[in-house]
């Protein structure tokens, strides 16, 4: 049965300068003209599988059930890395088996992972350098058309998972790291609401600076102030009100974030 509202998101490192993302959309619409295609971003760092994994991991749950997410950062295109389809309770994912779905796996007890092998659902003239066009876009569109999972390949049990850093509990609180820096220069850590909760007294330390307490919104402090708060995805973030924490702190992905909770 076709999906009632086929939504397909695209997350790639193709950039906006060239026609690659647009070509994928043409392929999708040629197979399923009803598909609603959403660019999550095409500015994943080139060949940066980890950034793609984190970006889709922070975003997919914000989409309606049955959304199909195509994620492509694919330095191994054309090699033996498998093209896969991942099925969670509410979402579908299509992309290379190179770790881009690591956060999806870690968020679910059970995922079904299917090795895409049935060439009937690929473009007939498959190249060796552009599986986005030749494999992932058409499979996503066929899925949206209602093609069943069993038709596109067989399940596998050992998909590739990146070692995504998890925060550690310490005697005094939590220790994590910066996993994402957004357009506004806010630093997202991997310490989340479900780890830390809402302690009465808390200090957050990053790049040698200590922030006393967390705020609920940026507006509680004057512009230029360094603040810690929960971001819209539930991650602990460090921001500068109306400014850039990344710039102020010269912070980068992987920097340590420590939280000290008072008894």
């Amino acid at each position: 049965m076709p999906l009632h509202i086929p939504i397909i998101t695209l997350t790639t490192d193709f950039g906006y300068r060239g026609p690659l993302a647009g070509i994928m959309k043409g392929v999708i619409l040629g197979i399923n003209p009803e598909a609603r295609i959403i660019d999550l971003t095409h500015e994943i760092g080139q060949y940066n599988v980890r950034e793609a994994a984190l970006t889709i991991g922070m975003s997919y749950m914000q989409f309606p059930k049955q959304t199909i997410h195509v994620v492509i950062t694919d330095p191994g295109v054309g090699s033996r890395r498998k093209p896969v389809l991942v099925r969670t309770e509410n979402h579908y994912f299509v992309g290379p088996d190179n770790g881009v779905f690591s956060m999806v796996y870690s968020g679910h007890e059970q995922c079904r992972v299917i090795h895409l092998t049935v060439e009937h659902y690929f473009l007939s003239s498959r190249s060796t350098t552009f599986d986005g066009r030749d494999v992932f876009a058409p499979v996503a569109a066929h899925l949206a058309n209602g093609v069943p999972l069993s038709a596109v390949g067989a399940s596998i049990n050992d998909p590739l998972r990146l070692a995504i850093p998890r925060p550690q509990q310490t005697p005094h609180g939590w220790q994590g790291e910066v996993i994402h820096i957004d357009h506004f220069g806010s630093l997202s850590s991997n310490i989340r609401l479900e780890h830390l909760g809402h302690p009465a007294q808390v200090k957050v330390r990053v790049r040698g600076r200590t922030i006393d307490g967390m705020v609920q919104t940026f507006g509680e402090r004057p512009p230029g102030t360094l603040v810690a708060l929960y971001g819209s995805t539930g991650n602990l973030i460090v921001s500068v009100v109306n400014g850039s924490a990344a710039e102020l702190l010269k912070a980068k992905i992987g920097d340590r974030v420590e939280v000290f909770v008072a008894e």
Copy 2:
């Protein structure tokens, strides 16, 4: 009654690198899968309310009637600034009450402005940092579904208006300023066709350079020439044919533009 052709435009400072704009689209399509979503731009300068106000002010009238425009440059997200819906004769606008709709207000004698307070039309898990996802996207989508204005909140009379610079008549013509610099380096002034008309003889002065007469099209002068003309929105613009006036003149937003009209 649902809108026959729901078109929703997005104007934000979220950039294209991250998933924020895409997430808003997922929320919209989850509520109204028929919506046609158009990116006006996501490259408004960060926290630059004035630039957002000018961008939507130059653009909205180019869209079909009943288009819903979501405009978000929202440094005060989570604070006491109100989320609002603005209704003009032909368009709807959704965003923060921080001045982003100043040009909309100044273009209409009467606007209805509604403070969005009915949480039934927000996402159920509203965060404190992303009203684009939690408030503005869902309200826009519900509007597109035909939810009446009276259901989403009550009218207010005192929306925030920025002091948008207006051109002044002088003994010799008009004095205005550069309000926008486009991708091609053309300088848009706030002096418009309805101010100046088509005088037989005119000089335009900006950054110490005087341009003799206005042209109708770029093609009337050789590449590299500095010209003045009416742009596609009816504003007086200063351009370099096949080049960049911003670069040639080292011009910036706010630079004075003077027009001298001969009797």
Copy 3:
């Protein structure tokens, strides 16, 4: 008869910062709300007609039949250059007659080229600086509505063609040039699969470096290796595995690419 699945692609030099591309989409949807609009790219180099010609030339055949491609790099907007519609066997193209369709013409024995003159299909308030909004977007949307070619203008026989460089056969193989550099820094040459085929032994020379043999996929060589292969469009490309050939070789558009084939 309206097209069953109207797909309209946009290729422009308007950039993503401003509202120009979005405004064109509003005009299209106002005339044909069913149109699926795809951004091929809005980052063509400013006024760079040749880059636009090459971009659409490499891309259009990847789209479903009956797709309408709007291509706008238009330094002569408002001048005497003609607005045109091009009809090939499977696609439509709309844009200025300034060479942007040169690759389309060279790929087809017969194209029908129509000078767009019937103002009924333009916006009623045509400006002199934005034919994208006033002419090309509305004509594309009317085409998608099923307006016949004969209604929009009369055929012409002398559309403008750029001298697109073609590769030359040499005593030892082929000589061509770099015609495109993609987001990953891969260099596309104008030497194509149908020129060169799959010779048993081949050397590729560019910027003083000689590459011994061609690979089928990036994965055949370790990261950092300079390789030659056929790209997804059938052009011979030079890449660095997981890196940037453009950066490594300091290459630019127009650089010579030589291929030596052993007997």
